[in-house]
């Protein structure tokens, strides 16, 4: 992205943020909703994990790293790349046709569709959870571990973005594919926070090789805390890299799908 493009991105984002301020009640409501959201997510994540101590051989000081990594990755995803989640809606409304007319990459325009006010809430929760998880952790936080954690969070963000980009690419062809996007969100939210070795092998395998949810937070956390997983150590350790590769692949797929885009409603 050139400097000029960055400036445009920044300016549109600022405009989008102002657009959010336009609807006064809604903006204030979003802030309030964010607060409810924060409380409920923290309660949900911590309560379940602490109640079943020793789940899958993880004690509660380690297990919190999984939801913390996953939530932080998710919050960053919502802030930077989250509009991919709504690409299906934009496709159904025929906005892609408009985007195709403008001299800016379609993907970037999808991202610039609006400002994600809710990301502020998501990130606050996630940061809080991460601080909590780190303070309870007995691990020795060396520079290497911290670097790996940061890489894991970024990799998780890219992996989530890759999954939604794949759904969006499918939606370019079949607008109804948007439905799968919402399921994906639900699956990531409900199963992304557990040590997946509590599940039967087949189910865990499905969430590793079918829907690569395990690579978002479970594998990186296992590597950091020294837990065994169902996959070889090198594969689990490569999670951040896999996130990056998956994202690059998804972007290629998106480009291919866009070239074959034939419009909605004839």
């Amino acid at each position: 992205m050139s400097l000029k493009a960055l400036r445009i991105v920044w300016r549109v984002t600022a405009l989008n943020f102002r657009a959010q301020l336009e609807y006064r009640t809604e903006f204030l409501l979003m802030v309030a909703i964010g607060a409810v959201w924060q409380v409920s997510v923290i309660v949900f994540a911590t309560v379940l994990l602490t109640r079943f101590t020793g789940m899958g051989g993880w004690d509660s000081s380690d297990v919190l790293l999984i939801p913390a990594t996953r939530m932080l990755a998710h919050g960053l995803f919502v802030l930077f790349l989250g509009r991919m989640h709504w690409a299906g809606r934009q496709i159904q409304e025929g906005r892609i046709d408009v985007y195709l007319l403008r001299p800016m990459p379609v993907h970037r325009q999808v991202q610039l569709a609006y400002f994600p006010t809710n990301a502020i809430g998501d990130l606050t929760v996630a940061a809080g959870l991460m601080v909590g998880a780190l303070s309870r952790s007995d691990l020795d936080w060396t520079a290497g571990r911290i670097t790996y954690l940061i890489a894991a969070v970024l990799g998780g963000m890219l992996l989530e973005a890759a999954l939604f980009t794949v759904v969006a690419s499918a939606a370019l062809r079949f607008p109804a594919a948007d439905y799968w996007g919402r399921w994906l969100e639900e699956l990531l939210g409900t199963f992304g926070s557990y040590p997946l070795n509590v599940l039967p092998r087949a189910v865990g395998g499905l969430l590793t090789y079918g829907l690569p949810l395990a690579f978002v937070a479970y594998f990186p956390a296992a590597v950091l805390t020294g837990h065994d997983t169902a996959v070889p150590y090198w594969l689990a350790a490569a999670s951040p890299l896999l996130g990056l590769l998956a994202y690059l692949g998804a972007r290629l797929l998106w480009r291919w799908a866009l070239r074959h885009y034939s419009g909605v409603n004839g």
């Binding site: 609807y23 009640t25 809604e26 409501l29 979003m30 909703i33 964010g34 409810v36 959201w37 409920s40 309660v43 949900f44 309560v47 379940l48 109640r51 079943f52 020793g54 789940m55 899958g56 709504w86 809606r89 159904q92 609006y114 994600p116 006010t117 809710n118 809430g121 109804a176 948007d178 439905y179 799968w180 919402r182 399921w183 969100e185 699956l187 939210g189 409900t190 199963f191 557990y194 509590v198 599940l199 039967p200 189910v203």
Partner: protein, 267 residues
């Protein structure tokens, strides 16, 4: 009465689904996978624990699977039909709701009824299969089954009003899908869809007792698995009924405000 004449509005959702077989396949797949996942997750969670929060493994698994089935009752892809309040406000087609001799609130109620009945067919089918393969336990007695049915009916009624309030919000402020999604998540969480409320800390359970959400799902399912004993059922059902009355009055008032809003701004 227009309510009777317009029964066809209740068919919109089932008919729309029947006209889109891929969507039905998707629902079937999603429901099956979700049941398997939830079933294995809760069995896994209980692998090292006996009874916790007053629920043993089979109770918790039954609760969780039933919650997945019940959430099918009204968790369709409503957006593809372009008949949500949010979308009507967005596309400016809300005016047609106010151009017909059928009051919008009745039209909305009919649509929701059709949708809930359609979802019920899915839930019942899923329940039969789960019961057959032993993924859920049958109710412990005929009395439990009867109380559960009554409580579930009231719960769905409360859920209808809760969803209605969320939709009504769109008349006044919400223009944002993300906000809607968060609210839906919060409603599901507080209703006990993701995890039984019994697992939460005491202050959370106390707070929940003052909110309508647990009346939608947590109460009927707790009755089913026996976490709420039959002796407490009467009280719980009375609370559910009270919520139905309170929310009915509240949403009626909001409908009037919504109409004023549309009529003062022209949609």
């Amino acid at each position: 009465m227009a309510m009777v004449h317009a029964w066809r509005a209740a068919r919109v959702t089932p008919l729309g689904e029947l006209h889109a077989p891929p969507r039905m396949t998707a629902v079937l797949l999603r429901l099956s996978v979700q049941v398997v996942l939830v079933w294995s997750l809760w069995r896994g969670l209980y692998a090292q624990t006996g009874t916790t929060a007053g629920l043993d493994r089979d109770q918790a698994v039954t609760y969780a699977v039933l919650a997945v089935l019940a959430s099918r009752l009204r968790e369709l892809d409503q957006y593809t039909g372009r008949d949500t309040v949010l979308q009507h406000m967005h596309f400016g087609t809300i005016v047609y709701w106010y151009l017909r001799p059928l009051p919008p609130q009745r039209y909305y109620a009919l649509r929701a009824l059709g949708e809930q009945l359609y979802g019920l067919a899915w839930a019942l089918g899923g329940y039969a299969v789960c019961l057959a393969v032993g993924a859920v336990e049958p109710p412990r007695s005929a009395a439990v089954a009867g109380v559960f049915l009554l409580s579930m009916l009231l719960g769905q009624w409360v859920l209808y009003y809760v969803m209605l309030v969320l939709d009504q919000l769109c008349f006044f402020t919400l223009r944002n899908n993300a906000a809607m999604l968060i609210l839906l998540f919060a409603q599901n969480l507080l209703a006990g869809v993701y995890a039984p409320l019994w697992f939460f800390p005491d202050w959370f359970i106390t707070m929940s007792a003052f909110l309508p959400f647990q009346a939608t799902l947590s109460v009927p399912l707790s009755l089913y698995v026996g976490r709420i004993p039959l002796s407490d059922a009467a009280l719980q059902i009375a609370v559910q009924a009270a919520w139905v009355v309170a929310l009915a009055l509240f949403t009626r008032w909001v409908w009037r405000r919504a109409a004023q809003r549309v009529i003062s701004q022209g949609g």
